[in-house]
């Protein structure tokens, strides 16, 4: 197994600030916007961005939800291991809201398709956007593209993009792992 560092903590900090500024450009004070982090790993990015927007960019009221998409996935009964759900925390409705879905890595697009279906359970939003830290090009199974991306990566299918966070792994970093 070989591991190559794609982004270090400094790179990630710069990217997070850029993504936060891009969100402010389009959503102003976030009064009609909700951020939704996808379980399990998109929630770390969503929480970091929410912290940044509140503490550094003085956004007063920011709605942040955590959404689990397990029951909406299209690979139920196709995996060897059972799909275990994570906690969903959506204490608001999204009717007529601008929704920003947040995930760490965009790969096949199937998770995002599941998220788009799951979000309908909470109302009919005005619009839905997608923010990802890493956009793996040329690997999409579905016609889904991000509105905000931290870094675009060309990784072959056997390679894995691994994102670690200070809060859970002691270090902000993005690695590309390959089996050889």
């Amino acid at each position: 197994m070989s591991r190559k560092t794609l982004l270090n903590s400094k790179d990630i900090e710069i990217i997070l600030h850029r993504l936060a500024c891009q969100l402010i450009e389009n959503h102003n004070d976030f009064s009609n916007t909700v951020l939704i982090g996808l379980q399990p790993r998109g929630t770390f990015l969503a929480e970091r961005l929410a912290e940044l927007l509140k503490n550094e960019y003085n956004i007063k009221e920011l709605e942040l939800g955590l959404l689990d998409i397990t029951f909406y996935r299209d690979d139920f009964r196709r995996k060897d291991k059972p799909l275990a759900a994570e906690k969903t925390q959506m204490n608001f409705l999204i009717e007529d809201k601008k929704v920003v879905i947040i995930d760490d890595v965009l790969f096949s697009g199937r998770s995002i398709r599941a998220a788009l279906t799951a979000i309908q359970s909470y109302g009919r939003p005005e619009s839905i956007e997608l923010l990802v830290l890493i956009d793996r090009r040329f690997s999409r199974h579905l016609p889904i593209q991000p509105n905000y991306r931290g870094r675009q990566v060309d990784a072959i299918n056997e390679e894995k993009v691994l994102v670690t966070w200070k809060k859970t792994h002691k270090k902000d970093a993005v690695y590309i792992e390959s089996k050889e």
Partner: protein, 309 residues
Amino acid sequence: MQELSVEHLLGIKYLNPNDIDVIFKTADHFKEVINRPIKKVPSLRDITIANLFFENSTRTKLSFELAEKRLSADVINFSAGQSSVKKGETLIDTVNNILSMKVDIVVMRHGNVGAGVFLSKHVNAKIINAGDGTHEHPTQALLDSYSIREKLGTVKGKKIVIVGDILHSRVALSNIFALKLQGAEVKVCGPTTLIPKYISSLGVEVETNLKKALEWCDVANVLRVQHERMDIKYFPSTREYTQLFGINQEILDNLGKKIVIMHPGPINRGVEITSDVADSSESIILNQVENGVAVRMAVIYLLAQQIKR
């Protein structure tokens, strides 16, 4: 481990504590789902479920049907009263005819003990026992434990008394298995004629004095008096039963403590429990009904997970 150790849900006695934990954790997620504006998920959109009810049922059948529909399964319903069973068709023939329609899961209630086990050996579908005679009613016991856990935080170490007709009750037997498996202390309380002789072998104590039983417990699970399952007189009169084993507000007020009141329904109001107790703040009867859908969704989802494409 996030999977069940069993291929069918035939009874609580076949489960281990991890199975119950997995079911409850999954039910927690489904409880959140059924409180959303849109209460449906697409997980089981390619699964067909047959509800075979050879005995009358209202709430269990509705609860299963709702659980199945909220998981997006295709559902077919069968009631023995309007079927070829009346013409002498056997259980296997009936079920095999239904399974020929490509059914993946069978939810069955049957008057005979062991009907689910028998079926599981002869048909190629997942079987969920929705009550077999006076034997087991596993999903009711699971939702009862889930409701106790929700109300009191845990089942372990809690003192639970099951009051009423233990002899004819599949709810009582499944509850005893489930509660003991989770580390609760269990007593049964009722007329000695309605308490089976083997009960102590299940690690359950008998208390024939209702007041003492209620003073001891944290939770009273009150059972319905099941006249339809009694072929001889087990107590002199309903009035006498109510006087000795009926729970009313006066008895609860004299306890000097709060206890949780449960009932699997349907209630004989004024017989085993009075209306003011059934509708009181200590009663979690309606929570049991709500939790029933979430728990049944969890059981169906976990068993469906084992059906490979």
